[in-house]
Each structure stands twice: as C-alpha cells, then as structure tokens.
C-alpha cells in the first residue's frame, strides 16, 4: 500500500500518458482548441479509464487466466461497451451534458490511452486498488496535458504567427516543449 502515492504521481507527472507515452494524441491534437471542451473531454476520459481499470481487473482475475490470447479482444469489447453504456446513461440522466459532449463521447473508444491503461496495468500486475489509483493518475494527467495545450493554443491565437507554421506543426512543437518541461519531473523520485 506504500507505493500508492508513487503510482499516482508517476502516472500523473513523471510518466504522463500524453507527453511521455504518446497515448491519446488524436484528441490531444484534435480537440485542444478550447479550454472548456478539453477540460470536459478530459473528465469523461478519466471516468472511462476508471471503469475500464475495474473491468480489466475483473477480466484478468477471473476470465483471462484461462485464455490469455483473448486479452486484446476482451479489452476492446469491454471499452467499446463501457463507452456505449456511459453514453446512454448520460443521455438519460442529463440531456444537457450529453449535448455538450457531442461527438467526443463515442470517440473515446478509439482513444489509445484507455486501451494502453488496461494493458500497462495488466503488464505491471497491479491489483484492484493500485489499478484504480493508476487510472485516476493517468486520467488527471491526460486532462492536465490537454488543458495546458488548450491554454497555450488559445493564447497563441492572439499573437502574430507566420502562416507557414500554424496548425498541426505548431501544436506538435508546443507539445515538444511541454514534454521537455515534464521531463523535469523525472528527477522527483531518483534520489529516494
């Protein structure tokens, strides 16, 4: 239990899913044009990650022991149906939130950060509690990276940028600089 805070901080900052593992780049580059949508997408992704972590643990413990080669197919089916289920739930409970989320909700299925989370947690042999903490750290880390990039992009719209570099090229270079900044966190644990 001692390593729970470590798992959380590691997933949040040191091994940030977006900036060091390059997971979930499609939404990272695609929808990070406004602060509000990116924060919302980040929260929805965090929620799906939590549910996936629980499902992955159940599958790993009870089902996949007997058939490890089915792991990938099981995970992807679970993720797709979780997203579908959450979509229906939100539609029923809060139509306003559902409209606000729009297309981002179904797109979470193809976000490789979610599948990556399930696979990494399995590979490292995380238990139930560790898996949930890991998912929470990864989800908040994803939201953090998304919100940071969205803030920088909103700011950059006000300044005079050469036409050539606008668009994806600039976003990637901004992400590179962000990623360098996050590398600084790697020193957090080396001394202990």
């Amino acid at each position: 239990m001692d390593n729970l805070p470590w798992i959380f901080i590691s997933a949040l900052l040191v091994n940030n899913f977006v900036l060091t593992y390059f997971l979930g780049l499609c939404p990272f580059l695609g929808v990070s044009n406004s602060l509000e949508t990116s924060a919302r997408l980040g929260l929805a992704t965090t929620f799906v990650m939590l549910v996936t972590a629980v499902c992955a643990w159940v599958l790993n413990t009870y089902v996949l022991i007997h058939a490890p080669y089915l792991r990938l197919i099981c995970f992807i089916v679970v993720i797709a149906s979780t997203v579908q289920f959450i979509e229906m739930l939100i539609k029923k409970l809060s139509p306003a939130l559902f409209r606000a989320m729009g297309i981002f909700l179904p797109l979470i299925t193809t976000n490789c950060a979610i599948l990556g989370l399930a696979i990494f947690a399995t590979n490292r042999g995380y238990g139930f509690v560790e898996g949930i903490v890991y998912a929470l750290g990864a989800g908040i880390g994803f939201t953090l990276a998304l919100v940071l990039l969205a803030g920088l992009r909103e700011e950059s719209e006000l300044s005079n940028i050469p036409k050539l570099i606008q668009g994806t090229a600039m976003n990637l270079i901004i992400a590179g600089v962000l990623s360098m900044a996050f590398m600084g966190f790697a020193g957090l644990f080396s001394s202990s």
């Binding site: 080669y69 990938l72 089916v77 490789c112 990556g116 036409k163 050539l164 994806t168 090229a169 270079i173």
Partner: protein, 214 residues
C-alpha cells in the same frame, strides 16, 4: 484500365494522401516507437499486416456486416489480426517485441486502420481495398522510417545500429527521448506545409500569367 485504377489507389497513400504527413492519423505509434529505425520498420510491418489483412476481410464481408454494428465488427477483426501479429513477433524477433512492448497491442486503437475500414474497405471491392491498404501502409511505413532514421541519426549518431559519425559527434540525447518525437514530426510537417505553400504560390502565379496573356 483496371490496373490503372488499383495503381492509383496504391500510389495515393504514399504521397498525396500520406496518412501521417497529410492526414495526421495514427500519431500514437508514430511517435512512440520511432526512437530507432529498426523499431520503426518493425512497427510499420506489423501495421501493414494488420491493415492489409483486415481491409481484405472487411471488404470481403462488406455485404454481410450489418450497418448498425459495423464499428464493433471492424474492431474485432482488427483485434484478431493484431493478436496474430503480436504472437508472431514474439516468436520470431523477441528482442524487437520487447522494445515495442505495449505498442503492438495498441495497433488496435490506431485510428488510421479503423479509418481506412470505415472510409474505404467497407465500400469497395476486395482488390481495390487491398491496394488501398497496401498504399496507406507503405505511406505509414515511409513516415515511420523517416522519423525513426532522423531521430536515430541525431540522437545516437547511428543508423540501424551502425555508427555513421566519428567519435567527436555529440549525440542529441533529447532526440531519442519523447520531446524529440514531437519536435521532429513538427519540423517535418513544417516542411510539408512549406512545399504546399510554394506549390499554391506557383499555381497562382501560373494562373495569373495565363489570365494576363489572354
């Protein structure tokens, strides 16, 4: 005529509609595994196998798969091929498999592959779908290789593990670390923008000259 058509589908994926440089798809594996040229090629081959295999199956079954559940069907077909690729690599080249790690199963979530099934394979006959998949996969491999080669040369002073600079070369460690991936791809996209910009300028000039002449 028929061969021309399939040739056309093959070529468009390599340059004009290059999945990475032009459509900006499949970024996650693109950046994660390109810290050396050999990893990039292994990833490219695995993606090519999955893309061609699933395009063939999806296209062959395109009249059978019900429209409402098509995405789930595509995903399951893709996941099957990825599992095959995963176990094959593990058996043939365990070292590369270990380095690519979790990124082989993550081919499933590569939006390039699902995108081709939805946009092309589920609508066209098998032959065209396979040609399209081959072209797109070659374009993807080209992009992976160029990124991997640049990063390995600058970050390690070597290509395929063979040193190409003298001992005095100071490797740019940052290039093989995550930020290097973002920066290299950013600069490559910048070059693509520049090409496009120059071409548009040239076409505009030609149009103006023609108007002036007429």
């Amino acid at each position: 005529m028929k061969t021309n058509e399939s040739y056309e589908e093959f070529v468009k994926g390599i340059w004009r509609d290059n999945p990475v440089f032009v459509q900006v798809l499949g970024m996650c594996p693109m950046l994660a595994v390109t810290n050396s040229a050999i990893n990039a090629i292994a990833m490219g081959m695995a993606s090519m196998f999955v893309l061609v295999g699933s395009s063939f199956l999806v296209s062959a079954f395109r009249h059978v798969i019900p429209k409402q559940v098509r995405i789930s069907c595509f995903i399951i077909i893709i996941a099957t091929f990825v599992t095959i690729a995963d176990y094959t690599l593990l058996a043939l080249v365990p070292k590369v498999h270990k380095e690519l790690g979790a990124f082989i199963p993550l081919i499933v979530a590569n939006c390039l592959i699902l995108g081709r099934q939805e946009a092309f394979a589920s609508r066209y006959p098998t032959k065209l779908a396979v040609m399209d998949a081959l072209g797109m996969a070659s374009g993807f491999m080209l992009a992976l290789f160029s990124l991997g080669a640049v990063r390995e040369i600058l970050g390690d002073g070597a290509l395929f593990g063979i040193r190409i600079f003298s001992e005095n070369f100071e490797p740019w460690i940052v290039m093989i670390l995550p930020p290097g991936g973002f920066l290299t791809l950013g600069v490559i996209l910048l070059f693509f923008n520049w090409f496009k910009y120059k071409k548009d300028e040239f076409l505009a000039d030609v149009a103006k000259a023609e108007r002036g002449g007429g």
